[in-house]
């Protein structure tokens, strides 16, 4: 027993090292640029792929060939970091956090297709490291020397980082910029150079982390997202911006994984989840993290006035609804199918908008609740033998309960922290669906989720979906203008003032989170019956991003926005998918361009235009407000 514990501890420590390399890179970049680099997992993946190519080219048997390949791969990834920083990030440092996250996610998509085009879809098996191929006998267990080497890498890099930050001018600048960016700028430091070098350095660490994985696991195209979600957990637990925190958390998570495999081989992520929960309850900003200065929800830009729809807008909505109701009379079957899907996605987008717009909580993992709704329906059909009607009622509750549980943690955080945590939860939900094969069928999904006889025709199901989605969207809308919706908005606009007039902001947000999850669950359940099957991809990260894009396209600040955004986006991406097999690249590129061209968002851009058109004498008043701060 003792030897088992010890070997698993060593295993955990070994896997912690790569995790730490990637997480520390992410943390350092965030510290200076305030950008959470979603593409950091992709840089890790590219490090592994590049190392595979270079090591093969240089000769894996030679120490120089292997280690030279690993180091060069890390340096190349650092160089790629420079390219990304100069082309993308440099242009969006002033954009809202959410758009920055989204832009780096665009980079994720692009790099994914680049890797696919370069290395193909097959896994690449790496060679073992020359000189470290043997085993050491520890407590009667054979333990690979390479693992021992990896265990040493973590603390070694931590030491190097510490020396770098304490003893060099560059390190001092990085620390200074992490504490007070504006001050460093005011002191005449070349910020551009600093930001680029920091990004390159952080990228290099990620690349090194990936390259060092070469002898341990096969290189594949899923490494990026699985790594980034684990890294998000690590930085949330360790504290964003703290390198030491990243190491502690990486060790903690690494060891948890190692033991989780022994205890709950199917659902190791549940353990991680529980530990994260405990840490967040005790220290909301992580083991070594500090609360963001001035509160993450401090004085952002003033939110624009939200007014109920005027007569014209209502009329337009009514006409649109009428057209949708009449559509089956004229539309051919394939159009009707597309319309059904669009209507379901409109509800999905509206549910995300509910927590993101009035609630101010941007979720990067909203697909979890969509997927749980779908799985709720499928599981009810498969295991309980339920027909469509009870399954449709049961499913949203599964999503809603998950919203209650996950939301409890999420509302404790805000901004990018909240985004990272929602993503980590979605990843946990996805992994559970993927790994728990007995219950969910794993990758094969659950088939045979068919509607009842009366709704089995295309027109029948279309009307079912339209009816439920329209009612649900209207209910969400009603709530936004109710006292509860106002209280939610109050908490977003100014939490300090909200608390000072007796509002329990956290609890209100918690309720909103659960409501949003429930509504997404309705959409997911309908989607399951629409497709006749469910798969883990329903709750994968790309689906979460779909929802985000729909909301952002339509505009966070308007209530009708997400519905329009859903129609626009779903139509667009379908065309893209038809046009090219590298649709991810196209989508990623569009996201990046969108953020660069409209750093304030589409609605921000249109508001700016409108302000220019109307030119009311307001600017003077606004200057007075800012002057008073």
């Amino acid at each position: 027993m003792v030897d088992l514990i010890l070997t698993q501890t060593l295993n955990g420590l070994a896997s912690a090292s790569s995790l730490f390399l990637v997480a520390s890179g992410l943390s350092i970049i965030f510290g200076v640029t305030r950008i959470v680099n979603f593409a950091h997992g992709s840089l890790y993946m590219l490090g592994a792929y590049l190392a595979w190519t270079l090591v093969s080219a240089f000769g894996a048997a030679e120490p120089l060939g292997f280690w030279g390949g690993v180091v060069l791969a890390a340096l190349l990834v650092g160089l790629l970091g420079v390219v990304i920083e100069v082309l993308v990030l440099r242009r969006i440092y002033q954009a809202p956090e959410l758009f920055q996250l989204l832009a780096t996610f665009g980079v994720v998509l692009m790099l994914q297709d680049l890797a696919l085009a370069t290395w193909g879809p097959e896994d690449k098996l790496g060679p073992r490291a020359p000189g470290l191929k043997s085993f050491v006998i520890l407590f009667d267990n054979r333990f690979p020397t390479y693992e021992l080497f990896l265990i040493a890498v973590g603390p070694l890099v931590l030491l190097i980082l510490w020396l770098l930050f304490q003893k060099t001018r560059w390190g001092t600048l990085v620390r200074a910029a992490t504490q007070d960016r504006e001050m460093v700028g005011a002191l005449g430091v070349n910020q551009r150079l600093l930001f680029t070098s920091v990004f390159a350095f952080g990228s290099m660490l990620a690349g090194l982390g990936g390259a060092l994985q070469l002898p341990r696991e096969a290189v594949n195209l899923h490494m990026d997202l699985s790594m980034i979600s684990e890294v998000f957990v690590v930085v949330v637990v360790g504290g964003l911006g703290s390198v030491t925190g990243a190491y502690l958390a990486a060790v903690l998570i690494g060891i948890l994984h190692a033991f989780g495999i022994l205890i709950f081989p199917k659902i190791t992520l549940v353990l991680v989840f529980l530990v994260m929960a405990v840490v967040l309850v005790v220290k909301p900003y992580g083991l070594m993290g500090k609360a963001p200065i001035g509160g993450a929800r401090g004085h952002g830009p003033a939110e624009p006035l939200l007014l109920p729809a005027d007569k014209l807008t209502k009329l337009a909505g009514l006409i649109a609804l009428l057209l949708l109701v009449l559509a089956p009379l004229v539309a051919p079957d394939h159009i009707l199918l597309t319309l059904t899907e669009l209507v379901i996605f409109a509800l999905f987008a509206a549910s995300l908008h509910f927590m993101m717009g009035p609630g101010g909580m941007a979720s990067f993992g909203h697909a979890a609740y969509f997927g749980l709704g779908a799985y709720g329906a499928a599981l009810a059909v498969k295991w309980l033998g339920a027909s469509m009607e009870p399954a449709l009622i049961f499913a949203p509750f599964l999503a809603g309960i998950a919203g209650v549980v996950f939301g409890w943690f999420c509302v404790r955080l805000s901004g990018v922290y909240l985004a990272m945590l929602t993503l980590a939860f979605a990843q946990i939900a996805w992994a559970t669906a993927f790994q728990w094969v007995e219950l969910t069928g794993g990758d094969n999904g659950i088939l045979g989720v068919w509607p009842s006889a009366w709704a089995v025709s295309k027109t029948g199901f279309y009307y079912l979906a339209l009816g439920i989605c329209v009612l649900a969207i209207l209910a969400l809308r009603l709530t936004i203008f109710s006292p509860l919706g106002y209280a939610l908005r109050a908490g977003r606009d100014n939490p300090l003032r909200a608390e000072a007039i007796g509002l329990d902001v956290m609890r209100i947000q918690w309720v909103a989170f659960a409501v949003a999850a429930f509504a997404a669950g309705i959409a997911g359940a309908l989607f399951a019956f629409f497709k006749g099957s469910v798969f883990p991809t329903y709750m994968a990260i790309p689906r979460s991003v779909d929802a985000l894009l729909m909301v952002l396209l339509g505009g966070v600040q308007t209530v009708a926005g997400p519905v329009i955004g859903a129609f626009a986006y779903a139509g667009l991406s379908e065309q893209l998918m038809k046009a090219t097999m590298y649709w991810r690249f196209g989508l990623g590129l569009s996201i990046v361009l969108l953020v660069i061209l409209f750093p304030r968002g589409l609605v921000g851009a249109s508001l700016m235009l409108r302000e220019r058109w109307t030119r009311r004498p307001e600017p003077a008043a606004r200057v007075a407000v800012e002057g008073g701060r």
Binding site: H299, A302, E303, P304, L305, L306, P308, L478, T479, F481, S482, P483, L484, G485, Y486, A487, R489, A490, R492, D493, N494, L496, R497, A498, E499, A500, I501, G502, L503, D504, I508, V511, Q557, E618, A621, R622, A624, V625, G627, G628, R629
Partner: protein, 268 residues
């Protein structure tokens, strides 16, 4: 159903007792005693100014009264009930209104909606997911806005108001729960001199009419001397003077703090 629950008259039952009693308040930050044994009280319908040089502990003291900070020691009693260490939203429910140094309003709402929000919360109606919030307590909100002279601008967005007007809206919001005590942190900061006098005159008038006790911190000595019934002076976390504006003005300790080296302030 939309009526606001009435408090038992605006003036506390026992008019003689102070509305706010603070006893031996203590707070340290890593060994530094930010507030060190401060005691004072505020009577209904009166204005008490809390002054002192930068770093004297005014804001720390203030934040312990409204619940943002938990004191290390001491007691805060509101109308006979201890409120020490309670959360801001609980303190508010017990009858404490407040305004912030940097105005805090809901920018996505109109002026009237800002006040309505506070009224809805006061009436315990925030959990209702149906019915339009705009229809609730509209008349009561307009009455409060009329009181602070902001009724004409009720439909405007808070995000576009002039700073002085924003302060008035905040005052109306702070009055929405019919407070026994009003806490105002640097109420006139960032305002033009004439606006300052107007706002404080308005506050004094409302306080006197409704029997509200007002405690405010202030840098502008003109405002302090014109609009306070009494003044307390903090220096390095300790209370060094307490009296009418005139008494405090003549106090040698206070003069030393504001003019001299601070050596005679009886610090540590």
């Amino acid at each position: 159903m939309n009526a606001i629950p009435q408090l038992q008259g605006a003036v506390p039952a026992a008019t003689q007792d102070p509305v706010l009693v603070v006893r031996d308040l203590q707070k340290s930050f890593g060994g530094v005693r930010a507030v060190d044994g401060v005691s004072f009280s505020v009577e209904a319908g009166t204005m008490l100014a809390l002054i002192g040089p930068n770093g004297a502990g005014k804001t720390t003291c203030f934040n312990m009264l409204n619940g943002q900070l938990r004191p290390d020691g001491g007691e805060v009693v509101l109308a006979g009930r201890p409120i020490t260490g309670m959360k801001p939203r609980v303190v508010w429910r017990m009858g404490v209104g407040r305004t912030f140094q940097i105005t805090a309003t809901f920018t996505s709402m109109t002026v009237r909606e800002n006040v309505q929000m506070a009224l809805i919360s006061h009436a315990g109606g925030i959990w209702s997911p149906f019915g339009r919030a705009r229809d609730r307590h509209a008349e009561a909100a307009d009455a409060l806005l009329a009181q602070v002279g902001m009724l004409e601008q009720a439909e405007r967005a808070c995000g576009v108001l002039a700073y002085g007007d924003l302060k008035r809206v905040e005052l109306a919001v702070a009055l929405a729960n019919q407070p026994k005590l009003l806490l105002m942190d640097e109420p006139t900061a960032g305002m033009a001199p004439r606006e300052r006098i107007e706002l404080m005159a308005l506050t004094a008038e409302i306080a006197a009419a409704k029997g509200i006790a007002v405690l405010f911190t202030e840098h502008d000595m003109d405002v302090v001397f014109t609009h306070s019934d009494s003044v307390i002076v903090l220096d390095r976390g300790r209370l060094i003077a307490h009296g009418t504006a005139e008494e405090v003005r003549r106090d040698p300790n206070v003069r030393a703090v504001y003019l001299g080296s601070g050596a005679t302030s009886g610090g540590h």
